[in-house]
């Protein structure tokens, strides 16, 4: 039994039009996505903006309505879990992309971090305060600053507050939606390493959503690559980075910057080559609508969306 299993997930948004505002069409933000998460590991969901990776994450945690498909958490179907106070809500938490809008500007840090605790646990004011201060220490912030407002912290510090809030209930799975893309590069590594530390400490599973392959490579064990709401390739880090099969993946991997200046010319030639291949064989890898085909296994861990042969 998988820790978290997503089966044929579809999230469609209606497009309204006409005089009466009826639904005339759908945007298929996520269209048939399946994957499994292993406990204690990090699964990376990669794609360009608009590929449906964030929608997938938000659908799993219940922020977007699921059109069809199922989400199973430890054997329990949580596809349509909407109730505010369920144990699943407690177990699955989220880290948001924007550390500025994800913390309520009118609340003190104490109230922000204590919000989940107040929803699920009954603690006295004093216990609650101590717990929040412990969490602040855990994420490396001063416990004395719990009466400050979020705007008094820097972006990286705010993201740490967001993480403290997410781990306050000792969750098992955290959906991290591009947790560092809004931060300065210098702070990114700090936050990422810190996320890995608490993963070990609290035995967390991450669903890590991102577009920066460098970050994904650093963080993840398994990777799924999305394009226009569908998977194009899925595999271990090794599968994806050393043996990409789909032309879209190849292009992504080729685009990772290399810091070795001696290889600059080589890199450029390689990128060009991949680009020409991409342009020439685009129709072989995508159907008439430009969407990816269904995934087919090419090894135990590696799946690629290739057309039927013949």
């Amino acid at each position: 039994m998988a820790f978290l299993e997503v089966k044929d997930l579809k999230v469609h948004f209606p497009i309204k039009g006409g005089i009466f505002g009826r639904t005339v069409d759908h945007i298929k933000a996520v269209d048939g996505v399946s994957f499994e998460l292993e406990k204690g590991k990090t699964y990376g969901l990669v794609g360009e903006s608009g590929s449906g990776k964030t929608t997938t994450g938000r659908a799993i945690i219940g922020l977007n309505n699921i059109t069809s498909g199922s989400v199973t958490y430890e054997g329990q179907d949580i596809t349509n879990i909407r109730r505010a106070k369920s144990s699943v809500r407690k177990d699955i938490q989220m880290i948001f992309q924007d550390p500025y809008s994800s913390l309520n500007p009118k609340k003190r840090v104490l109230d922000i971090v204590a919000e989940p605790i107040r929803n699920f646990e009954s603690m006295t004011k004093k216990e609650e305060r101590i717990r929040v201060q412990e969490l602040m220490e855990l994420v490396g912030l001063s416990p004395e600053s719990i009466l400050k407002y979020p705007h008094e912290f820097s972006g990286g510090q705010r993201q740490r507050i967001g993480i403290a809030r997410a781990v306050a209930l000792k969750p098992k799975l955290i959906v991290a939606d591009e947790p560092v893309s809004a931060l300065d590069v210098s702070v990114q590594a700090q936050v990422l390493n810190f996320m890995q530390d608490i993963q070990k400490e609290l035995d967390l599973t991450y669903l890590f959503i991102g577009h920066d392959l460098g970050v994904i490579k650093h963080m993840c064990d398994h990777i799924g690559i999305m394009y226009r709401g569908r998977y194009v390739e899925e595999g271990t880090v090794n599968d994806i980075f050393t043996n990409p099969q789909h032309i879209y993946t190849k292009r992504l991997v080729a685009a990772i910057p290399d810091i070795d200046p001696n290889k600059r010319a080589e890199q450029r030639a390689f990128r060009k080559e991949v680009q020409t291949e991409y342009e020439q064989s685009f129709n072989d890898y995508f159907d008439e609508e430009g969407l990816a085909y269904d995934l087919k296994p090419i090894s135990d861990t590696h799946l690629v969306a290739l057309p039927e042969k013949g």
Binding site: F96, L103, N119, P143, E144, Y149, G162
Partner: protein, 302 residues
């Protein structure tokens, strides 16, 4: 884990505590001389009229005294008397009290209805919003003045409460619309999504997460509404469709000026009330505008 870990000296906490939003706005208001002066004026007037009104007998003041009709200001009647020989100064005090009371009452009631309505419409959006906004649009196109006048004319016995209920029924839309459009923006922010994943119910998110972010807007709007509501009430009383004469309001005194004789020759009946209304409205607006500037400034600073 060590038992004492995380326990921090209360003093250190206090030292790092940041002032709340309201206290910052208050500080800004005090700095604004005109607005602070206006606020003091309003407080003094309120204390005076509510204080004096305790010792004044409303029934005695509104009792007709045929021996002292239309007297100009004198030792006995500081501001003269009206066509029923009633003391204008006493009516002025009681009228101010009644006008203020109803203004505050209507502002609070419209505020509560408008906030709840607007929050629900904006937060849920979609169909809920559509239906609620259709209802609101409908109230908005009703000819407010006329319907209130008709109500007052046909409801047989009305009191301060029923009168303010009638006014409230047609005055909650403005603030509801404002709150709704702000809530629509606010709910898209991640902190609302975060609260959902943290297990807070919609009700809790609306009133404990979103509402505080609208507080400055609400304070400013309600202050400005207070001025508008006092104006509306005195306008209706002026036309004779507000309070009955036995419960004078500032508008009642002005209503006497609809008689050309009073308007032309007996200024003491209507001029003091006019000046008082004008001063009240200006003072409230001063405070409201200053609050608006203060909250804008605070937003700029982040």
């Amino acid at each position: 884990m060590e038992t004492n870990k995380g326990v921090v000296d209360e003093k250190a906490l206090k030292a790092q505590k940041s002032p709340s939003g309201i206290s910052i706005i208050w500080r800004e208001l005090v700095k604004d001389k005109l607005a602070f002066g206006s606020l003091i004026f309003l407080v003094l007037i309120s204390v005076f009229v509510y204080g004096t009104a305790i010792f004044l007998d409303q029934d005695e003041i509104v009792t007709v005294d045929l021996f002292s009709i239309h007297q100009p200001p004198s030792e006995e009647f500081w501001l003269g008397t009206d066509y029923g020989g009633r003391d204008i100064f006493g009516q002025l005090i009681i009228g101010t009290r009644n006008s203020l009371t109803i203004g505050v009452l209507v502002t609070l009631m419209t505020g509560i209805i408008g906030i709840v309505f607007g929050l629900v419409a904006g937060y849920y959006g979609g169909h809920v919003d559509n239906i609620l906004m259709r209802i609101l649009d409908f109230f908005l196109v009703l000819p407010f003045m006329m319907i209130v006048i008709v109500f007052v004319a046909i409801v047989p016995k009305y009191s301060v409460l029923t009168f303010s209920l009638i006014m409230t029924a047609f005055l909650w839309m403005g603030i509801a619309r404002l709150i709704r459009s702000k809530a629509l923006q606010e709910k898209e922010l991640d902190y609302v999504q975060a609260s959902k994943t943290l297990g807070s119910s919609n009700f809790k998110i609306m009133f404990t997460q979103v509402l505080p972010n609208l507080s400055s807007l609400i304070i400013v709007t309600m202050t400005l509404n207070l001025a508008a509501n006092i104006g509306l009430e005195s306008g209706l009383s002026f036309l004779g469709f507000g309070f009955p004469e036995s419960t004078p309001s500032l508008g009642t005194l002005l209503g006497y000026a609809r008689n050309p004789q009073t308007l032309e020759f007996r200024w003491w009946i209507w001029v003091p009330a006019s000046v008082l209304i004008l001063l009240l409205m200006l003072a409230i607006r001063n405070v409201g505008e200053a609050l608006k500037r203060a909250t804008d400034a605070r937003q700029r600073r982040g």
